[in-house]
Amino acid sequence: MKNTELLDAALAALAPINTLPDWQQCKARYLGKKSHLTQSLQALKNLPPEERKEHAQALNQTKNALERLFEEHKKKLNLDQLQERLTDQRTDVTRPERCLSELGSLHPIVQVQTRIRQYFGALGFEMEEGPLVEHEAINFTALNTPEHHPARDESDTFYFDEHHLLRTQTSTVQIHGMRQRKAPMRLMSMGPVFRSDFSVRHTPMFHQLEGLIIDPSLHMGHLKRLLTDFLAWFFHQEQALIRFRPSFFPFTEPSAEVDMRCHHCHGQGCRTCSQSGWIELLGCGMVHPNVLKAGGIAPEHHQGLAFGLGLERLAMLYHNLSDIRLLFDNDVAYLKSFGVHTA
């Protein structure tokens, strides 16, 4: 019949069409004002009424079918075009990204300080600072190290004149802290200290941490627990692999040193730990009564716990570093490898 022929013809005409303008042209030919179909529809009014209805129905059916055909083809055309756009400009995702500025870094010692501040800050320790150029009355005498004490011999101190020196330990801040406050108190101080020594494990300037708690009822067991908990957290361990052994400092009595199990040899003995299986980490003890008195605190009413450790030592153990001097060489590539982490 004429109508199916029309549909077939339209299908055949559409087949090669793949652009929208061509499609529009084709649609105009079959469905437009001058198309055969439209003219047939218009010619309906010339037909006698009995024939009109039948012809109209057939023509409208054809028109609807054609319109459907064209719409479907258009949809397909759009999809094809979209598809082409998707495959056309494929981005090579493996090319380097745009980088307006490379990421810098925070110094590993600063990162250690931030972690420590987070931990002890949460325990209520006030952060204190003290002068770096000190009087020997504070650096030694107030810390129970009188003139004749052999510990003065061993400290390799830098002097400016007979009395002024670069502090050899952060314990000086204990004295300043105690004098500025009434007991009870919890203090912490971190900062540079200076000793005349230079090797793979020693630099003439390094950083120390000092912690001090003063309260009427403190004992050595508290100190042991405090340090055990801290070290376990710092090294991300369930339980800190440490040992707590007696030692001597002029400003604490009893005194202790804490060793960490050597991470290189797991306690078997190696060069890193001088064959002992342990690495010395920190010193601590109960504040000597003379030091409490020098800080204006009565030893009869209060007890103090104090602990100090080297931050470079901590950083070296945490990051498995072998040469402390690199921390002061400030090579950018080395520094960058530490990133900005403070957790």
């Binding site: 400016f160 309260d215 403190l218 001597f248």
Partner: protein, 679 residues
């Protein structure tokens, strides 16, 4: 100190204890293990580091006492009684630094007769050199019981011996051949001619024993730690000085001398002609230790009987009273001065593993981070985010650096620096940063961004003023080399951008001005006068720092290819807390107008911006410079600039005529500066 096991056995029975176990036990009693040598009896030894408070442990007897207390067994205190004085051998004591002096005069029938092999071997094992048979004998006794002693050739002593204070300028030649000019106040052993020995430290060459010496004067005396301390300046590190500095038992000279005389008689058939004793020592003061003290300090209460036995084994006299112990320290424990010293003995001998690990119960007092610290954290983070690596340099620097870029007259000099390049305390940070940058340059590393926060020291007074500074250096390309972006070197505005970013983060309002004319000085300043600026706090006008290029003179001297960009300022003014200015969002649309202008080169952008914004309606929100270009077509002395004006009114939509009027007014004001619209 080395403790050969075979020698220790003289003083305490320890053959049943495996050496590693003994070493471990001693470590947990307060000694540090330097090394351990197992093996046959004549080779086995312990090398222990003894802490400065345990002078008493620097001998076989001393360590044996500790082992006795640790293992609850007796030690053989084998020293004989002090001999009674006899004959004539007077020694006058004229100084408090030497409270007691025992002397004995002996003759040797066979001068320099060799000591038996076992004695020489022991000394070698213990790490001491063999010197002279008499000296070796004394050293052997020193290592054995702890009393340092000295031998003089009695034939070279003129007149009577005395112990007195040295006089200023006295000369003294040590037996090591060093001649010292003594200060006043040292403790010296002297005869009528002069100084024979520096008491407790070292003997002199004049009366040193020689192979041919037959008459020997033996000295066993006590010298106080204070008197040893005065001789520190001479750097004489002797075994005797080491022990006296840490405290020797003041009642030891008599028994030690007696033991040595016994040995001289037995081994060398020496004849003793005279013994003298001068001075005396007070017995130790008893201490009271409350029964409640261990619980108070250690957190646990050991068995009373155990505490009693422990102190007895250590040599103390103990009386157990109703609520405390009455403890008389043995004369060798000079480190027992008060209650806490006794507590330490209990703690270390019973064992630190018994300390109860309990969390302390403390009042909940606030300790939030300080605002200053929060500001510092922000500054550090945002510098890192802008590509800078944080450095930490030594606080002591070389003099040259301070001369060039700091202020040498204000830089404190270290009296005993570790090296010449660390001789003075820094007054500024940039010097060290520059040096490190040069080191990178020499390694072909040309893209460097470093920043630092740290203390600077301003002298010359002591103590100096310590101020925290912060500083950065940057050199190289604006961006890392990459496809899609042209390579571009850093310029002033990159450095300005870094500082502005920090100012924004810390909410510090900053304003910028060029450097003043530099003073005519001998050497060029740090900063390039044309490409540097002073940063000021807009409100207080306080200087916040200086930013700019390194002066070309220094670029050349340091051998750099391109001028690095630098900043340094004091940290405190950056860390003042500020309030945020909160902006309420507007609903009305924002309109923009771009103005293309010719601007006289002499006109600073700040002046142009001020002319636009001053007297402008408050709905003129922003003026942004988005283009600057030089052109051949520019009028004489002019440079092309383009600014974008953004206008947004509260609660109403601006009409074109409002904006047009505003722009016309702006152009009128700009005309006064010589700024004209570009056609």
């Amino acid at each position: 100190m080395r403790y050969p096991v075979s020698w220790l056995l003289d003083w305490i029975a320890i053959s049943d204890i495996p050496l590693p176990e003994l070493a471990e036990r001693l470590v947990f009693a307060g000694f540090e293990l330097e090394s351990l040598h197992e093996g046959p009896l004549d080779e086995a030894l312990l090398d222990l580091k003894v802490t400065a408070n345990r002078g008493d442990a620097l001998s076989m007897l001393g360590l044996a006492r500790d082992i006795a207390a640790l293992y609850d067994r007796p030690c053989h205190d084998k020293l004989p009684e002090a001999r009674t004085p006899t004959g004539v051998c007077p020694v006058a004591l004229e100084a408090s630094c030497c409270p007691v002096f025992h002397a004995a005069l002996i003759t040797l029938p066979e001068p320099a007769k060799r000591n038996p092999d076992w004695l020489v071997r022991r000394l070698t094992q213990a790490g001491m050199l063999s010197v002279h048979p008499m000296v070796d004998l004394l050293n052997h006794m020193m290592l054995g019981c702890g009393q340092p002693m000295h031998a003089y050739d009695a034939d070279r002593i003129q007149g009577t011996l005395c112990v007195r204070e040295s006089q200023e300028g006295e000369l003294f030649e040590t037996l090591q051949g060093q001649t010292l000019t003594l200060r006043a106040g040292h403790c010296v052993v002297a005869d009528e001619v002069g100084v024979l020995a520096l008491g407790g430290v070292i003997g002199g060459a004049r009366a040193a024993v020689r192979p041919e010496s037959t008459r020997i004067l033996l000295e066993a005396a006590h010298f106080t730690p204070e008197s040893i301390a005065t001789t520190r300046r001479y750097n004489l590190h002797t075994e005797a000085a080491f022990r006296f500095a840490r405290g020797v038992d003041p009642s030891l000279p008599g028994p030690a001398l007696s033991a040595v005389l016994d040995q001289c008689q037995a081994l060398h058939q020496a004849v003793c002609h005279a013994i003298s004793v001068s001075g005396r020592v007070d017995p130790p003061t008893p201490l009271l230790l409350p029964h409640s003290a261990p619980q108070r300090y250690l957190g646990y209460a050991p068995d009373h009987h155990r505490v009693h036995t422990l102190f007895e084994r250590l040599g103390a006299q103990v009386h157990n009273l109703s609520d405390h112990w009455h403890i008389t320290p043995p004369s060798h424990r000079m480190d027992w001065q008060e209650e806490v010293d006794l507590i330490e003995e209990i703690a270390r001998l019973i064992g630190y593993e018994h300390l109860p690990e309990e969390a302390p119960c403390l009042p909940m007092l606030p300790a939030p981070p300080s605002r200053q610290q929060l500001h510092i954290d922000q500054l550090q983070h945002h510098m890192a985010a802008q590509g800078f690596s944080q450095s930490i340099h030594y606080h002591f620097v070389d003099r040259e650096q301070e001369t060039f870029w700091g202020s040498l007259s204000h830089a404190l000099a270290v009296r005993n620096p570790i090296s010449e390049d660390k001789a003075v305390m820094r007054t500024q940070l940039l010097g060290s940063l520059l040096r490190t940058m040069v080191a990178h340059h020499n390694r072909q590393q040309h893209d460097v961004r470093l920043f630092e926060l740290g203390t600077c020291y301003q002298g010359p007074q002591l103590p100096p003023t310590e101020t925290q500074h912060w500083a950065f250096v940057m050199v190289g390309s604006r961006h890392p080399v990459q496809w899609g972006l042209p390579e571009c070197a850093l310029d002033f505005f990159d450095a300005k951008g870094v500082v502005t970013q920090i100012a924004d983060v810390l909410r510090v309002p900053v304003s910028w001005e060029g450097l003043p004319e530099p003073a005519m000085t001998e050497q060029p300043p740090l900063w390039h006068p044309q490409h540097s600026a002073v940063v000021r706090h807009t409100t207080t006008q306080k200087p916040l720092g200086t930013v700019g290029a390194l002066h070309p003179h220094w670029v050349q001297v340091l051998g750099l290819k391109a001028a690095p960009w630098l900043f340094e300022g004091s940290l405190a003014p950056w860390c003042v807390p500020q309030h945020a200015g909160i902006v309420v969002p507007e609903r009305s649309p924002c309109m923009t107008r771009d103005l293309a202008l010719w601007v006289p080169r002499t006109c600073a952008y700040a002046a142009l911006q001020a002319a636009v914004t001053n007297e402008a309606p408050e709905w003129l929100k922003e003026v942004r410079l988005f283009d600057v270009f030089d052109s051949k077509n520019a009028p004489e002395g002019m440079i092309g600039m383009a600014v974008r004006l953004s206008a947004q009114a509260k609660e109403r939509t601006l009409e074109d005529k409002d904006v047009d009027a505003m722009v016309a007014a702006v152009l009128q004001r700009l005309a006064k500066l010589g700024v004209v619209l570009r056609r």
